[in-house]
C-alpha cells in the first residue's frame, strides 16, 4: 500500500511537472488536490479544524476510517508533496553554497539577496545549484 501510494505520487509529479527537472510541485498544486478529493469529508468531519498547523491533515488522519477512498489516498499524497517542496526549499542554501561564494561574493546575506543573485547568474551557476533552485520552485 505504501509503495503504491509513492508510485502514484511520482506519477502526479511527472505529469504535472512544468519544467524538465522539476520533480516537486508548488503548494497550490498540492493543496488543491486536498480540496478536490477531501472537500466533502472536510466539511463533514473537520468542521472545527483549520488549515493552520496542518490541522486539516491531522483531522483527516484521525477520521480516516470514515473518509472516502479517494480522500484517503490523496490526503497522503498531498502531505508527501508539501513535504517534498519544503525539503527542496530547505536544501537550496547548502546545494548552492559554492555557487553563492563564487558568483555572489559581497552580496548581503539574508532577505533573499543571494538567491536573487543566483537567479541572475543562472548561465554560470552549476547544474546542481540550478536544479536545486528549480526543485524549490524559485524561478
Amino acid at each position: 500500500m505504501r509503495r503504491l501510494i509513492f508510485a502514484f505520487t511520482t506519477g502526479v509529479m511527472l505529469v504535472a511537472a512544468p519544467a524538465a527537472f522539476a520533480q516537486t510541485v508548488g503548494y497550490a498544486d498540492a493543496i488543491k488536490i486536498l480540496a478536490a478529493s477531501c472537500g466533502k469529508d472536510i466539511d463533514t468531519y473537520c468542521k472545527s479544524a483549520t488549515l493552520a498547523n496542518n490541522g486539516i491533515s491531522k483531522c483527516l488522519e484521525k477520521n480516516q476510517s470514515k473518509l472516502s477512498e479517494q480522500c484517503n489516498a490523496d490526503r497522503l499524497t498531498v502531505t508527501a508533496l508539501i513535504q517534498a517542496r519544503l525539503a527542496a526549499q530547505a536544501e537550496v542554501p547548502q546545494l548552492c553554497q559554492r555557487d553563492a561564494a563564487q558568483y555572489c561574493k559581497g552580496v548581503k546575506a539574508g532577505a533573499g539577496h543571494v538567491l536573487r543573485c543566483l537567479l541572475k547568474a543562472q548561465p554560470s551557476v552549476s547544474k546542481k545549484c540550478n536544479t536545486a533552485i528549480d526543485l524549490a520552485g524559485y524561478r
Binding site: 503504491l4 501510494i5 508510485a7 502514484f8 506519477g11 502526479v12 505529469v15 504535472a16 512544468p18 510541485v25 508548488g26 503548494y27 497550490a28 498544486d29 498540492a30 493543496i31 488543491k32 488536490i33 486536498l34 480540496a35 478536490a36 478529493s37 477531501c38 472537500g39 472536510i42 466539511d43 472545527s48 483549520t50 488549515l51 493552520a52 498547523n53 496542518n54 490541522g55 477512498e69 479517494q70 489516498a73 490523496d74 499524497t77 508539501i82 519544503l86 526549499q89 539574508g110 532577505a111 533573499g112 539577496h113 538567491l115 536573487r116 543566483l118 537567479l119 524549490a136 520552485g137 524559485y138 524561478r139
Partner: protein, 193 residues
C-alpha cells in the same frame, strides 16, 4: 490495486487540466509576484498603527457606515499590492476548502526570491453589512487565519508577515457598500526593513 492506480491517474489528470486552465483565467503565482514585487520606498507604518487607526475611525466617526476613508488610505494606495478573494465559513475565520489553492498560491509567491525578505501586511476587509466594530474584529481574525496557514502549514517566514483587519473602514467600492467586491484579503508590500 487496480482501483488505487485508477484513482492515482484521475488525480494526475485533474492536476494537469486545472493548471492548464490557470494559465488563462485563474489566479496564478506569477500574477501575485508581479503585482507585489518592486517595492520602492521604505514605509514607516506598523500593523498595530494601522489596526489602531481603523479603531479610532470608528470611535471618532460612529454610525452604521464609515463616513470617510481612513487617513492612511493614500499612503497605503501607493504601495505594491494585490487583492485576492478568500472564502470563509459564514461568520467565522475558517478558510473554505475552495480557497485552499489561493492560500497555496500566496505561499508559492512569498517563498520565491522575488518576494523574500520583504515585509507584507495581510489585510482583511468586509462589506458594510453589520456593525463596524464587529466587522473589524472578524476581518482581523480572518487575516490572522490566513497568516497562520501560511506560516505554519506552508512555512512562510512569520517575521515578515503581519495581519491587520480593517473591517468596512476601507471599502473597495464605496458606492456599493454591501457588494461582494468589498470582501477581500489584500496583500501589501511594505518593502525591506
Amino acid at each position: 490495486m487496480n482501483k488505487l492506480l485508477l484513482a492515482g491517474l484521475s488525480a494526475a489528470f485533474l492536476a494537469v487540466s486545472a493548471s492548464g486552465l490557470a494559465a488563462q483565467t485563474k489566479l496564478s503565482r506569477n500574477e501575485i509576484i508581479n503585482s507585489l514585487q518592486g517595492a520602492q520606498q521604505k514605509v514607516d507604518l506598523t500593523a498595530d498603527e494601522l489596526q489602531q487607526a481603523a479603531l479610532e475611525n470608528i470611535r471618532k466617526y460612529p454610525g452604521a457606515n464609515a463616513p470617510n476613508t481612513l487617513p492612511l488610505a493614500d499612503k497605503l494606495a501607493s504601495l505594491r499590492q494585490f487583492n485576492v478573494e478568500i472564502t470563509f465559513d459564514f461568520d467565522s475565520a475558517r478558510i473554505r476548502p475552495a480557497s485552499y489553492e489561493t492560500i497555496g498560491l500566496i505561499a508559492d509567491a512569498l517563498h520565491t526570491p522575488y518576494l523574500q525578505g520583504q515585509t507584507f501586511f495581510i489585510v482583511g476587509h468586509t462589506d458594510a453589512k453589520g456593525a463596524r466594530e464587529y466587522n473589524l474584529e472578524l476581518s482581523l481574525k480572518r487575516a490572522q487565519a490566513v497568516r497562520e496557514a501560511l506560516v505554519t502549514t506552508f512555512r512562510v517566514p512569520g517575521e515578515y508577515l503581519f495581519a491587520v483587519g480593517l473591517g468596512e473602514e476601507q471599502l473597495r467600492d464605496p458606492s456599493k457598500p454591501d457588494a461582494a467586491i468589498n470582501r477581500r484579503v489584500q496583500l501589501i508590500n511594505l518593502g525591506y526593513r
